[in-house]
Symmetry: C2
């Protein structure tokens, strides 16, 4: 293999950002929209609720009729049985709870205290007035968003199309181990809401993919030469540990091609930082790493070579500080499973001294 | 409706915990295991890698043969071309990078400095020794776990069965609004990795479900009476805002039945705190609310009635403090979409004063 002209992680991220913009929109039924990225602002077509309605099961009354009611002056007022969510009958403006009062056969109830207008009534427009913004473009739709927009009468939504990711495993499995890259990459692509389409190297460059991800491609001189001559190979080599052989190019028709290293830990991190970023951007999602991060204090020194960005596995101590774990270079993919998270030591530094405040990413979801 | 004998949120959670334990295990192919909960400890059957192997493409050499090499004393040593991941040939113990050296036709290279044994070699057992723990029982499997266990040769995994959730929408849609509970609940159940199976009220209580969730059931006296007589209705009414009409019972054959209020915001929060907790427990997941939480400072007072646990929507200020948003009682489900998160004001308190340190949950994923 020829020597690599390694670029910085930041430069590689810029390449990804220039090569990707969010895909066109498509319509999906509301029931299938969870996890998708909304492509347009959703506004209330009319007020929600459209009319004042009962907040609870009970009896609708006119508050004014209860003025003067008291223990020694019970007032008998007209009452209409109503269920939660039903519109208030004309001439009523308050609801008494079904569990506290009972109506007689004439539909009247006895009140021993006055009722305030509006009690237990959901007012017209309380959730949203007509025209008000409900959910903004770019929102990743969660169950509560679906509940609100269903309530507003939407049955289908315009969302960013899911990126089609052609996944090519060009490397042979490593000695003494089964290939783990295929299952890992498929799951990563699905996590980022891409559609993974497995293909062989001979089908790698045809139409129909939004991005092409080739595992082991950066280590294959024939392949990199072919990409360079048919399209472009803009970057070959990134100053990242684990993994230095990533390549970034385009096919003749402009589709981005990302070549990831075959070593499992290097494959993982080149996906996370570059391929995943591209897929998240194509799908309209935040490009950042999809892990929680926060400032924490290092309990021990974290060592990393100058000139290389290094993903350093860490574990969390009982006191909330962090300490380094066996590196990806030593423990491979195991370092991503045994650790609680990681810090990214930038190329300009030799790591962090003990007692430093660093931005750490954690694997646990909450 | 009869008056409710409201229990505390804590009591309702205890009921859920007593009524649920994790389901039996099932085998799934590795490719389908992302997001599932591992049912057994996974240990390495043999060392990973099984043999010393090349970490990079290059030439395998014997380090001892390079002793004494220098610029003025180049040594010609035997070298064997090797690709990353291939086992080291007998009699070699270091790899020189393909991009830095070239072999002659006799398979020899000239060295101008000594090579250290073990350089660019992935040692046998570096990822894991035979018998070492790879992933522990109870882990929710992410892509990186799949990569590691695939590498270790596993092709199928034993995981906790997904809970079958019978979902019954017993309420009519509210006036002036479409039903949002159905789509919201389906998405919530899927988020918690349950299998939502929609059914009508007439099919609610048959076999085949691990849990039965009935929306609007707590407001239906006939239904609650039927559950009480056929099985048990252990709780009816929870001191929670939004939503006080939740019911918790069991069918004759012991299947838990959760009755959620029909008002959308109340439906959401009774799902999150109780039905979701039950489903997460059945599936072997952490029962806690699936949102990030952390200690933050209140910029303004958060008011909540004593005697009731209240979910209080909040927004985040630029300085990192939080302030209350329009409540669920006023804004309904919109308060779950417009807010950045929520705090849970306990029943014993009247909320929090300005400047208090509170545990806040945030909706954004990272």
């Amino acid at each position: 293999m020829r020597p690599l002209a390694r670029v910085s992680v930041e430069r590689a991220c810029s390449w990804v950002d220039e090569a990707t913009r969010h895909l066109e929109l498509e319509d999906v039924p509301l029931e299938e929209a969870a996890g998708r990225v909304l492509g347009v602002d959703l506004r209330a077509a009319e007020a929600i609720p459209r009319a004042d309605c009962a907040a609870i099961d009970g009896f609708a009354v006119l508050a004014a009729a209860s003025i003067g009611a008291g223990t020694y002056n019970p007032l008998t007022v007209a009452a209409i049985a109503i269920r939660a969510g039903e519109p208030m009958p004309p001439g009523t403006d308050a609801v008494l709870p079904a569990c506290q009062v009972e109506a007689n056969r004439l539909g009247q109830i006895d009140l021993i205290e006055p009722v305030a207008a509006g009690v237990n009534v959901d007012r017209r427009g309380a959730v949203a007035e007509a025209g008000e913004m409900l959910v903004a473009e770019g929102t990743c739709l969660t169950p509560r968003h679906l509940g609100l927009v269903a309530l507003a009468g939407f049955t289908g939504l315009s969302v960013v199309r899911r990126p089609r990711v052609r996944l090519v495993i060009a490397n042979k499995p490593r000695a003494g181990a089964t290939d783990g890259n295929g299952p890992m990459l498929r799951a990563l692509i699905e996590r980022d809401d891409g559609l993974a389409i497995k293909a062989g190297l001979s089908d790698a460059f045809g139409p129909g993919a939004d991005i092409i991800v080739i595992i082991g491609g950066g280590e294959d001189n024939q392949l990199t030469a072919a990409i360079a001559s048919a399209g472009s190979l803009d970057i070959h080599g990134v100053a990242l540990i684990p993994g230095e052989t990533a390549g970034f190019g385009r096919t003749a028709d402009g589709t981005p091609v990302l070549l990831l290293p075959a070593a499992p830990a290097a494959c993982l991190w080149n996906y996370e930082l570059f391929a995943g970023r591209a897929i998240r951007r194509l799908g309209g999602r935040p490009p950042v790493l999809p892990y929680n991060s926060r400032q924490v204090i290092t309990a021990r020194k974290i060592v990393s070579p100058i000139g290389m960005t290094e993903i350093c596995p860490i574990h969390r101590l009982a006191d909330g500080r962090i300490a380094p774990e066996t590196s990806f270079v030593e423990a491979g993919l195991r370092a991503a499973v045994a650790a609680d998270g990681f810090v990214i030591a930038p190329a300009q530094s030799e790591g962090y001294p003990a007692g430093a405040s660093v931005n750490a990413y954690f694997y646990d979801a909450y």
